[in-house]
Assembly symmetry: D2
Homo-oligomer: 178 residues x 4
Amino acid sequence: MSVFDTDIASGWLSRDELDNARERLPMIYVEAIPVRVDDHGNICDLGLLLRPRPDGSISHSLVSGRVLYGERIRAALVRHIEKDLGPVALPRLPVNPVPFTIAEYFPDESVSGFVDPRQHAVSLVYIVTVTGECQPTQSALDLRWISPHEALSEDLAADMSGGQHRLIIAALAHAGTI
Amino acid sequence: MSVFDTDIASGWLSRDELDNARERLPMIYVEAIPVRVDDHGNICDLGLLLRPRPDGSISHSLVSGRVLYGERIRAALVRHIEKDLGPVALPRLPVNPVPFTIAEYFPDESVSGFVDPRQHAVSLVYIVTVTGECQPTQSALDLRWISPHEALSEDLAADMSGGQHRLIIAALAHAGTI
Amino acid sequence: MSVFDTDIASGWLSRDELDNARERLPMIYVEAIPVRVDDHGNICDLGLLLRPRPDGSISHSLVSGRVLYGERIRAALVRHIEKDLGPVALPRLPVNPVPFTIAEYFPDESVSGFVDPRQHAVSLVYIVTVTGECQPTQSALDLRWISPHEALSEDLAADMSGGQHRLIIAALAHAGTI
Amino acid sequence: MSVFDTDIASGWLSRDELDNARERLPMIYVEAIPVRVDDHGNICDLGLLLRPRPDGSISHSLVSGRVLYGERIRAALVRHIEKDLGPVALPRLPVNPVPFTIAEYFPDESVSGFVDPRQHAVSLVYIVTVTGECQPTQSALDLRWISPHEALSEDLAADMSGGQHRLIIAALAHAGTI
């Protein structure tokens, strides 16, 4: 991810240093599930980023990224949403700064079921309403909006990796839409 | 409250029947704390309704009202917000349908510290972001926006009744603004 | 449910009056999902009450009951847990008095998906750890402990009515066990 | 802190490496507010660790510590509770793995109001019921149990540092005890 590299290049930690730290310390991440809601706050659609996999298939993933040294969690969320959804997505962060769930990623799948081969990451996961136009940027091919019903399908589960589909289920449960 | 009477007149329960039920059954209420937020979701201001008290002083209160038979909680919230803040307040209900706190009102103050001389009411309390123009209607004189700092003051505590100032403190704690 | 009748007989509301109110006012309920946990707070088992259905099949249901006039929510929870699980279940109520989810039951299934033919009920749903011996009483045949894995099965979904299986899914999502 | 040193010695990170990482990466912490509750889950007392300050005064603090590489959050919580409260405190972790609040500590007080001169730490804060005997160990002189009423006092605020008193207020608000 180039922006990620830029963050690092702009002075926090060199790539080597980061790689080294990743083998020794848990990293802290934020993840966001972008949603569109109706006038009563019910989720109409969830947004997923489409990214090519090395094998040519398409993976569906969440907005996600690292919290930098000195950065507030809310600022990290806004930064990663802008990075992935473009500058006019107009996200509305929840008033409650506590994530609706926490995902603990480990290189070894057996620990928690959430997998990240690169690192141990503690990820704070938020549902974020977007009210503007999303223009996926970076390495994402596109943003796909799906209904809560589609979001629960086995098909989608197969298209998400690292255990992220469980976060979709948890989000819909949290929103009372399951 | 005239709208409240209208609800009743329009067919759910006569005033006598409601008074009778109130002596026998807990009533279910919703309360909303209207807030304005910045781009990162931090609370900038809280909105309080100003209402004249019989003794000539001014009370500060929350948006509040009963859930009607057959009505969804979210619909009751929207209805009472429109009733108290006008039709263009543009409220944004949270995605999570669970209230951030519950207030149990009783005629007897010693039970929970929340008092309603008329009834036992179980009140589901929400923080609701408003993004439009608020035009207080009904029996309210005005809507006053106050900062989180002012909201925690002893002065405000004295201007709120029934224990509602505790809900303000709980809201700010929930929002990480205390 | 005899205890329920006793509550009423002991002075709050006659059966006729209650039936009448049920056609006019939302009733407030509590529901509890009893769980057993390990030393780290992970859910090991969920407890479901087995009850005969009129057609001879067995339904699986949650601990559930009405909040009475004048009664605190926590007291209603403890009362219904004792009623359904016996006097030595040793429930440990969560410190947070806010339910993990709210179920809105209506006679008409299309409103929310939660159905109660008798009434409109707003149900506050809690996960409650039990640390003692459960001795199902009342109309329940037995209490069955099932694993989180079994709890998510289609088979169980078919054995629960009124939409309660969705509450099981929501509970496991809330507990990070999905 | 010897246990902490042992963790490090046993292979995660040398003290020098940790100091170095602390200047570049946010660290992830857990904090616990130990409480004793009544049969209905109401908080009776909160437990605070007493520690001597360099100036001879006594500070009151929470159970707190770092999440290690490869460690689950719940395991870190249990480890730090045992470290600070002894082996027979019998903590009961909440079923919900999401903290009730998050504290973001920075060397610079102006960022969030939570201060840690050593590092940027993202701290997941939990209320943990303890049911056994607490025997404060390590560097703590003693454990002091205080009522919710005392916990809100200005005196206590002066005896806590880094902004931790705000976490006490948030905990009591979360528990409906404010």
